[in-house]
Every structure is written in structure tokens, then in C-alpha cells.
Chain length 341, copies 2
């Protein structure tokens, strides 16, 4: 037995109906819902087959059917195929450029959550090929030196260093030149111990400052390890009874609050070089622990050359995939375009 045209039509009708109502759907409903003009009895036979094939299941004997993960998967794959062909006309940009990127992303997350009525997350862009662009030491007061480190992509890090004895302007200038001539344009891998010891030697009695700056540089470049994640719409979990019982909600909310697990999801997503489009994880497919009852849909955006981040929607398995995918694509497009002309 295999899935013929009619079975697929019925499956689709079941899923559509279940997405709308959240209730198990019975044979009579389908008999009227579709234009197949089949009696409920026939539908029942087909449904028994679909269940045997693993696409739908029954919560209990006398209930209607609900889609299984396998059923959703089929539905979504087909859906995505259609979407691929569709040339979307995007609405005008709803996002304004913000002074600070984090405010922009917070707004974006909120917008996403409001539009979809699911929980939304968005990771701050992570710069992959981090090269040093510029280092500047400045004297703030007698014993404090400010080190400013600018990394490719205009990510800026500051570190305050305390020195025992005051440095005069000339020494500071020398150190600045020393640092910049040696380090500019290099990535973390390219800064080796030989280079560092050469610099220390040239710095003479101020070699400890060099050491401190190098540490700060190392930290600045790899700083994206604990990447920032903005979330919104946690309360939307409560809109879906299958997620709203105390235990489940508690777990979901903790995951959303602590962000550690979301962070892993983002890391995985960004690590996958081929992943340029939309990813859908249904139920047990999820890479995030404790979200077996949810579906997760993600997209990767690129704010500026190499500044990649992930946006995602988390909701019940019976989410409106179509709407979610559309919203993600729209937001992705907006973010992609925002800082490029």
C-alpha cells in the first residue's frame, strides 16, 4: 500500500483542519470539507490506511485523527516546494534602522512574536572571520589606560588596563604603533607566540602592557562564543493548551529564559554552511532538548558581510507553517537588506 493522490488529499485536509481547530478530526468532517464527494465511510477506510502508513494517529479509540510527526513532515515538505516556486512580493520594510543593533533586533523579535502569535527568538549576528582592524591605547588618567580594539565588521571592544607607573605620550604612541603594525589585519589564528614575544621585546619595560592587550584582543575576537539571543512572546505558549500545562510551560519558559539551549541551536544552524534557507524541525526532530512537543522554524540572516544570525519561531506542532515561513522570509529579507544598499 502506498500514498496515492486521494490519500494525500485526505491527509492534507486532515492536517489543514487540525491546524485550524486543534481538535482531532473525524471522517464526517473530511467528507464534507473536501470536494472529493466521498461518504464518511469511505473516508474512514482511507483514514485507517493513512494510520497504518504512519501519517496520522488516534489519541484514543473513539476520537478523530491527528497528524503524526511524519504527517506534518510530508505536509511541510510539499508546502516548502510550492513556496520555492512562488515569487513573493514583499511588503515595504517595517523595520527602521536603529542606532544600536540590539534595539533593532529586540524590536524585530517582538514584531515576529506579535505577527505570528508564537514565541520568537533572534540571535545577534556573529562575525565569523574576525580580523583585527585597529588598536588604540589612550591614557584616561595617571594609572589607567584604555585599550580600544576594533574588529572587522566594526565590532568594538574596550578594556581598561591599570598600570603601575604613568606612561608619557611618547611611550603610548610607540606602543600604539607597535601594536598596529604587528597585529592589524590578522585573525586570531595568525597571532602566534613568536610574534608576541618579538613585540614584548620591542616594548621593553612595558611588555606587561603588551601582554594585557593581547589578552584583550584574544577575548575580543572570540567574544562571540556567548552570543546574545533576544526572545519575545513567551506568553504565546499559553495560547496552545497542549503546551500550557504547568510542567511543559515551565520547561519551555526556562529554556527561553536561560537561552543556553537556544544558543546551541543557533550555533548548529550557523555552522551548517549550506543552510541558506528555512529550516523546519517538527516535534521529535528538534535539536533543542525539552521541545519535543513543539515545532521550530528557523532562518539565517546576514546583516552585513559575514555578520550572520538566526531568527526562529517556536510554537506547537500544529502551527500555521505557511504564515510562519512567510514571516520569517519577510524578516530575513528585511534584515539582509537593511545595512546594504
Amino acid at each position: 500500500m502506498q500514498l496515492d493522490e486521494r490519500k494525500y488529499t485526505i491527509l492534507q485536509a486532515i492536517i489543514r483542519n487540525y491546524l485550524e481547530t486543534g481538535e482531532p478530526v473525524g471522517s464526517r468532517t473530511i467528507s464534507k470539507y473536501t470536494d472529493l464527494n466521498l461518504s464518511s465511510a469511505t473516508i474512514r477506510n482511507e483514514m485507517a490506511d493513512l494510520e497504518e502508513l504512519g501519517y496520522i494517529l488516534q489519541p484514543h479509540t473513539s476520537a478523530g485523527r491527528i497528524p503524526s510527526d511524519k504527517g506534518y513532515r510530508l505536509y511541510v515538505d510539499k508546502l516548502m516546494e510550492e513556496k520555492e516556486r512562488e515569487v513573493e512580493e514583499m511588503k515595504e520594510s517595517l523595520l527602521e534602522k536603529e542606532g544600536k543593533v540590539d534595539n533593532l533586533l529586540k524590536k524585530a523579535a517582538k514584531m515576529l512574536a506579535n505577527n505570528t502569535e508564537y514565541a520568537a527568538m533572534i540571535s545577534a549576528p556573529q562575525y565569523r572571520r574576525n580580523k583585527l582592524k585597529f588598536i588604540q591605547l589612550s591614557r584616561v588618567d595617571a594609572t589607567q589606560i584604555l585599550a580600544v580594539i576594533v574588529v572587522e565588521g566594526n565590532v568594538i571592544k574596550n578594556t581598561m588596563l591599570t598600570v603601575d607607573e604613568a606612561l608619557n605620550d611618547e611611550t603610548l604612541l610607540k606602543l600604539n604603533i607597535l601594536l598596529n603594525t604587528h597585529l592589524n589585519g590578522l585573525s586570531l589564528d595568525e597571532i602566534n607566540l613568536g610574534m608576541i614575544s618579538a613585540m614584548k621585546q620591542q616594548a621593553g619595560i612595558h611588555s606587561d602592557i603588551i601582554a594585557n592587550v593581547i589578552d584583550a584582543v584574544a577575548e575580543a575576537i572570540k567574544a562571540d562564543e556567548d552570543l546574545e539571543i533576544y526572545t519575545s512572546g513567551t506568553k504565546n505558549f499559553f495560547k496552545y493548551p497542549e503546551l500550557a500545562d504547568n510542567e511543559r510551560a515551565s520547561e519551555l519558559i526556562t529554556t527561553f529564559e536561560e537561552k543556553q539551549l537556544l544558543s546551541e541551536l543557533v550555533q548548529d544552524n550557523l555552522a551548517d554552511e549550506n543552510n541558506t534557507g528555512i529550516q523546519v524541525y517538527i516535534g521529535s526532530e528538534t535539536p533543542v532538548q525539552g521541545m519535543k512537543d513543539c515545532s521550530i522554524v528557523t532562518a539565517t540572516y546576514e546583516l552585513d558581510e559575514g555578520m550572520k544570525g538566526t531568527i526562529g519561531i517556536i510554537g506547537p506542532k500544529r502551527m500555521d507553517y505557511e504564515k510562519v515561513v512567510k514571516n520569517l522570509k519577510l524578516l530575513k529579507r528585511q534584515l539582509d537588506d537593511l545595512y546594504r544598499k
Copy 2:
């Protein structure tokens, strides 16, 4: 009729018992619970009086009594009085100095939530008397200028400026001197239009850069308006049935996620100069909208001279005030001491 010794003992017993069990407490329980050696009938009479006085109330006719907000208030006031006298011996510090303050605070919030089993929040320290300490413009590449602004308390802000034509080293040096001689040591109020126009005049053709820098300075100094708030233990709301129903939980979680309302609470707290100790808001006393069914306990810490922030616990009205106050005092002490010797 007024509150005599015996009534107070009974009230206290009722509250203690209710805090433990979360169930309305009856006269028989109190009759055994206290060492007053009174029969349940006598207790009943006293309870009727306490109800008339407004300290306790009955959920329904045949139930026991629960404390009213007024009852809690009396209890807490008395409790705090006792605590005041008590010379607390603090446990050794559980917090390690962290490289970044925000990580420290995140950890602190988590610790607080775990220890108390309530929801915890902590606001990043807010610097009140913001004076400019140091400004530095540096050329990053041909058309980009990095402005670094250091404010008293070593809060650092960076802004990237784009210029039409490259600036040479000399010009940059001049601008740096111009900015620092005019602005260093001043607060926002002290930077007036006259000063700005004088600087612009001196800057000649580069007056637009001055304008941009001034904007950045203004932003840096007042940047603490959207103060950072770290939260933890949101899931703890679910441990208390009176907060765990969908609607209420939904509201609380949103408040915790959006942080806007918490921010107002913190602002109020810090604005109150006299407020050095512990603040307890019970039920309807709360300044945070939508938390009428909660109690909020806050404390103000001072990480470094003038760097004040607020820590807070939010839980059910029947929270273990004693434990909460103890934990807040402990954490406050730790934060207060961390960066001072």
C-alpha cells in the same frame, strides 16, 4: 477593640502556618499549633475579632482564614524590626569577581532565584552623576572615525562616525584636544549651546564632526535610561498555584520578559535617596502593574562609588519573607563589598 498581645500571637501563628501550607488555616489547627493552651472555640472568637480588624479574611464561609494584605504588612513590619536588631553573621562570599559585570549579575540573579525558589531580578548598576572623563577620536580607515567616550565610573561608549574626506593626523589631534579641553569633567547639564557653538567655530570646516561627537556624548551620558535588567527563575511562578493559572502566569511572564515595568520599579527605587535598606511591597501595595497578587522585595546595592542597582524577588504574597530578606541582604552585602577592599 484593638490588637492585644494574644491576638497578635494568634495572627502570627495563622500567618506562619499559611506561609507553610498555602491552605486556609482553621481554629483547631491554631489551638494545637500555639502554646497558648486555648480551645478552638476561644481561638474562633479571637479570629472573628481579627477578621473584623481586617488582618485576616475568609475565602468562603466554611473555610479557615488567610492573612489579608494588612495582616502581612503587620507581620513583615514586626519581622523587619527584629531583623534590624539582629547582627547577622554572613556566610562567605559565594560570588566570584567576573571579567564582565553583566555575567556577574546574571549569575547573581540565578543564584538568588535558586536559593529562594522565587523569581529574581537584578538591574545593572546605574551611574547617577555622569561626568565626562575622556574623549578620543581615532581614524580607523580612510572615511571612518571611531569616537570613544569614557564617563566617570569607567563606563565606555563607542560610536563610529563616517566622514566625507579623510582627516590627517594633525587635524585629528587638534579635534581631540579641542574636545577634551572643553568637555572633560562636565556633566550633561553643564554642556550648553554656547560652548558647543564655540567649539564648532574653532573646529572650522570640521564642525560637523564636533556636532556628531556631541550627539554621541549626550547619548552616552543619558544611555542609562534603558537600563539593563537580568531576570531568573521565571518558572518558579508555577510553583505557587495562586499564580500559576494561565492568565496570571501569562501576565507575569510578559512583565518579566519585557522588563519595561520592572525598569520603572527600579527607577523609583533608585530615585528614592533615603531608601538604603530593604523594601517590601505586599499585594496591592505593589508599584508594578499586574502584580497585585504578588509580593515584591527589593534592596539597593552599590557596586562601586555611585554605581547603584536594585535586586529584587517577586513571589506569591505568602512568600517566606524571612528567607527572602536574608538572601537579599546577603547578596547586597556581597555586591557592596565586591569591588571595594
